[in-house]
């Protein structure tokens, strides 16, 4: 849990400076334009506070997060689209700032994982099921002619003994 993470950072005391109980958006940051503000909130939730442990700038009260929140709102007020704001931040801080990594050669495997695993296991299971339901498998549950003869022979021997 997050709390274990906190416990962990206690152990590695050097990190404890990076811990913040979150306070996020301050009243003075909020934009008067409700539409812009809600866009800012949505964007903030997908942007990483780079000095925090896995927190978005929307969740964190670190000074850097506040700077980024103000920056996002400034860009939005200047008329930038969501994509332009993201591009602006990526140009400044690298892709590390995006909590939802964009599809690229480096992340294609990441995004395809659910489908690949699903397809992989699905194919395996389908093959198994077909094999299981095939006449051969069903026949495998019954005795072959050869086995039947051997069973009879054994039974006959036991009968002879008794």
């Amino acid at each position: 849990m997050r709390i274990l993470l906190l416990a962990l950072s206690l152990l590695f005391a050097s990190l404890s400076a990076g811990i913040h109980t979150a306070h996020a958006v301050e009243p003075d940051e909020i934009l008067a334009d409700l539409v812009l503000e809600s866009r800012a909130r949505r964007l903030s939730a997908e942007l990483r506070c780079m000095v925090c442990q896995n927190q978005s700038i929307d969740d964190s009260n670190a000074p850097l997060a506040r700077d980024l929140r103000l920056l996002v709102r400034e860009r939005l007020k200047a008329g930038a689209t969501d994509a332009e704001v993201r591009a602006f931040l990526v140009a400044r801080y690298g892709e590390f700032v995006l909590l939802k990594p964009p599809l690229s050669t480096g992340t294609v495997l990441l995004w395809l994982t659910p489908l690949l695993v699903l397809a992989g296991i699905g194919v395996l299971v389908a093959a198994r099921l077909r094999a299981g339901a095939s006449p051969a498998a069903v026949a495998g549950q019954q005795l072959t002619e050869d086995e039947r003869r051997r069973v009879e022979a054994i039974l006959a021997r036991d009968d002879a003994k008794s």
């Binding site: 849990m1 997050r2 709390i3 274990l4 993470l5 906190l6 416990a7 962990l8 950072s9 206690l10 152990l11 590695f12 050097s14 990190l15 404890s16 811990i19 109980t21 979150a22 306070h23 996020a24 958006v25 301050e26 009243p27 003075d28 909020i30 939730a45 997908e46 990483r48 442990q53 896995n54 927190q55 978005s56 969740d59 690298g94 892709e95 590390f96 700032v97 995006l98 909590l99 939802k100 990594p101 480096g106 992340t107 495997l109 990441l110 995004w111 994982t113 659910p114 695993v117 699903l118 296991i121 699905g122 299971v125 099921l129 299981g132 339901a133 498998a137 069903v138 549950q141």
Partner: protein, 659 residues
């Protein structure tokens, strides 16, 4: 003195672990009863020694013996007694000792209650358990020894992070570890089965209660952590897709799959190889969770370098156990005979679908958690994989799982009738549709998907009720017959239905609070009001106060609803003395519609305070669902047929190896 005894007990436990690992395993190999019998006293002695060691450390904490470095670093004399005790596992060394203690307890439980196990299986299981204990005891003794002394003795300790000074800390880690370590039972049984080259229904019957118990502990452990984060971290978040959370969530997902596949194995002798593999993978994920948390590799690559010895040690443990068991699996799994064939549309088929989706979900969380590390290590640059990724990938995988869930229990084994199941679910379909329509009509503007997601939870609950109704022939048989059937329905059927209802309840809570949460952030002066979700909050001002080891500033909010007083909320900001750190204590009002959650922020110029108020609709359903899942598991566990040792005579004889 007591500390030295604890240290000594730890080292003795290590020696006992060596004996318990080697002697019974050799005994099982050469079929020597006396050698195998060593496992019994060894595992009990092991528990006694580790417990003694743990108690010695606890004593050092309670007595505030700061000559022990671990106590000095993590405790303080002014800390309340309960947090001095829970502080034992609030740090790395102590928590590893707790890990081994729980492991030893599980091992002793096999020794005590495993009288009906075939002797060789029991000997091998205990030997495998001992090998895990040995690895972790070695780890503690060489890199994380909590019994080291310091000289000169400091006057007082450094104290515990105030965020961890909470009743939650007392319960959360032991529950979580109980789950993690509990899966070692499934692992040990799987490895023992591979060594012996045989598994059967009786094996599954043995593994299932242990897995179920571990799963129950992990379920409430995760829920507990989530609840704790919710009220302690001060912004009402309850799940963050944080790597450390994911580390506990992966074993839970795999363990859930294991529970269901072991069911197929027990009832139908099918899915043997898969179940054994899943048992290995589930515990491997637990080990990996321990590694990820304990090495610090996830929170920071630098933390890994702070003490590379620890990280590398756990990495070696992981490679040995996971690699070793998977190697054993690849060599020996061919010897496990497959049984029971079934049609795709059948109870088995439904459980296979459950396993496919849960496996894909586990893989998604796994890849999402480790991808940034892997990419960085391969020179692909640093990226972040956060909540938006998991919501986009994990969420869609849960939809078919929840949609299909009610069908499973209504299909018969071997060959089921989907149309008949659908017919039985007709009432559930109607209820679900009504729920979706009501939610759609109720939400003014809102995410259009939310009502349908909410209805999924209703669907799962209605499906579980339908299953019980079908089993007791409600509506088709006369009432006395229905009541007779209700009384005779096995507890495990009720347990399964209840656990599924718990899933539905959690889904409803998750959807409602994610989709319809409202929030107000304003600067308020005393006497000013704010309004949220139908409540009016009047800020009455702040008052300072002191606690045992902190000072606080508490805000007073009078809450009214339509003019009638509801409650007073008193969120506070605390400043702890040792270590000096601020925390936020939220003021929470629990209502039937959801939680009113108030946080007091910083003082603004002019006497105003930043005030954050959230309304989290139905948020309690998330944890309520987890509790219901736990109760379902408990009900199932108390079923006579599942209870360990219940079918003693017949099973024990059937299990004797044919020689």
């Amino acid at each position: 003195m007591i500390t030295e005894l604890g240290h000594f007990a730890l080292l003795l436990a290590l020696a006992v672990a060596v004996v318990q690992m080697v002697v019974p395993a050799v005994g099982a190999h050469v079929r020597d009863q006396r050698l195998m019998a060593v496992a019994y006293p060894a595992s009990l002695l092991q528990l006694a020694l580790v417990a003694g060691s743990f108690l010695a450390l606890t004593y050092a904490y309670v007595a505030s013996d700061f000559s022990v470095e671990n106590v000095f670093l993590n405790s303080h004399s002014t800390k309340p007694l309960v947090y001095r005790i829970s502080g034992v596992w609030g740090n790395h060394e102590g928590s590893m000792l707790l890990w081994v203690l729980i492991l030893a307890a599980f091992g002793a439980a096999v020794a005590l209650f495993g009288a009906n196990l075939p002797p060789t299986l029991k000997a091998n299981v205990l030997a495998v358990q001992a090998s895990i204990a040995l690895a972790f005891l070695l780890f503690i003794a060489t890199t994380s020894n909590p019994f080291l002394r310091i000289d000169p003795v400091p006057a007082d300790g450094r104290g515990l992070n105030p965020i961890l000074q909470d009743p939650g800390l007392a319960i959360h880690p032991p529950l979580l570890y109980g789950g993690y370590v509990g899966f070692s039972m499934a692992f040990s049984f799987a490895v023992a089965a591979l060594i012996e080259g045989r598994t059967d229904a009786a094996w599954a019957r043995w593994v299932r209660p242990w897995t179920l118990a571990a799963w129950m502990l992990l379920t409430v452990g995760i829920a507990m952590g989530s609840w704790w984060a919710y009220y302690e971290l001060g912004w009402g978040g309850w799940w963050f897709w944080d790597p450390v959370e994911n580390a506990s969530f992966m074993p839970w997902l795999a363990g859930t799959a294991l529970l269901h596949s072991a069911l197929v194995m027990e009832k139908r002798e099918a899915l043997k190889v898969w179940t054994v593999l899943l048992a290995i993978l589930t515990f491997s994920l637990s080990l990996m969770g321990t590694f990820l948390v304990r090495s610090g590799i996830l929170s920071s690559v630098h933390a890994f370098a702070v003490d590379p010895k620890r990280g590398i040690f756990i990495l070696v443990i992981m490679v040995l156990f996971i690699g070793g068991s998977l190697l054993l699996f690849s060599i020996r799994s061919g010897t496990l005979r497959q049984g029971g064939i079934f049609a795709p549309i059948s109870r088995e088929g439904a459980l296979v679908l459950n396993n496919i989706l849960l496996a894909a979900a586990t893989a998604t969380v796994f890849v999402g958690t480790l991808y940034p590390l892997a990419l960085d290590a391969l020179g692909g640059g640093s990226i972040s994989v956060g909540a938006p990724y998991f919501n986009l990938t994990f969420g869609p995988l849960m939809v078919p799982l929840l949609l299909a869930l009610p069908f499973g229990p209504l299909l018969s084994w071997k060959r089921g009738d989907a149309a008949a199941a659908m017919q039985r679910l007709l009432v559930a379909v109607v209820v679900t549709t009504l729920a979706a329509a009501a939610a759609l009509a109720w939400q003014s503007p809102g995410p259009w998907l939310a009502p349908f997601a909410l209805a999924l939870g209703v669907w799962v609950i209605a499906g579980a009720v339908t299953e019980i109704a079908f089993r007791v022939k409600a509506g088709t048989a006369p009432w006395p017959e229905v009541i007779r059937r209700l009384r005779h329905l096995p507890l495990s059927s009720y347990g399964a239905a209840l656990a599924h209802i718990g899933v539905g309840i959690s889904v409803i809570g998750i959807v409602a609070t994610s989709a319809w949460r409202t929030e107000t952030v304003v600067a308020l002066k005393p006497g000013e009001k704010l309004e949220i979700a139908g409540y009016q909050l009047e800020f009455r001002g702040t008052a300072p106060g002191t606690g045992p080891n902190y000072k606080e500033l508490t805000g007073q909010f009078a809450v009214t609803r339509g003019g009638t007083p509801v409650t007073t909320l008193a969120p506070s900001k605390r400043l702890y003395d040792q270590p000096r750190q601020a925390t936020t204590e939220a003021g929470i009002h629990v209502g039937w519609r959801g939680d009113l959650y108030a946080v007091l922020g910083d003082e603004q110029p002019g006497g105003a305070y930043t005030v954050r108020v959230y309304f989290n609709p139905l948020v309690r359903f998330i944890w309520l669902g987890a509790i219901v899942m736990f109760l379902g598991g408990a009900l199932s566990l108390s079923d006579r047929r599942l209870r360990v040792g219940a079918p003693r005579r017949a099973k024990a004889r059937a299990l004797q190896p044919a020689e």
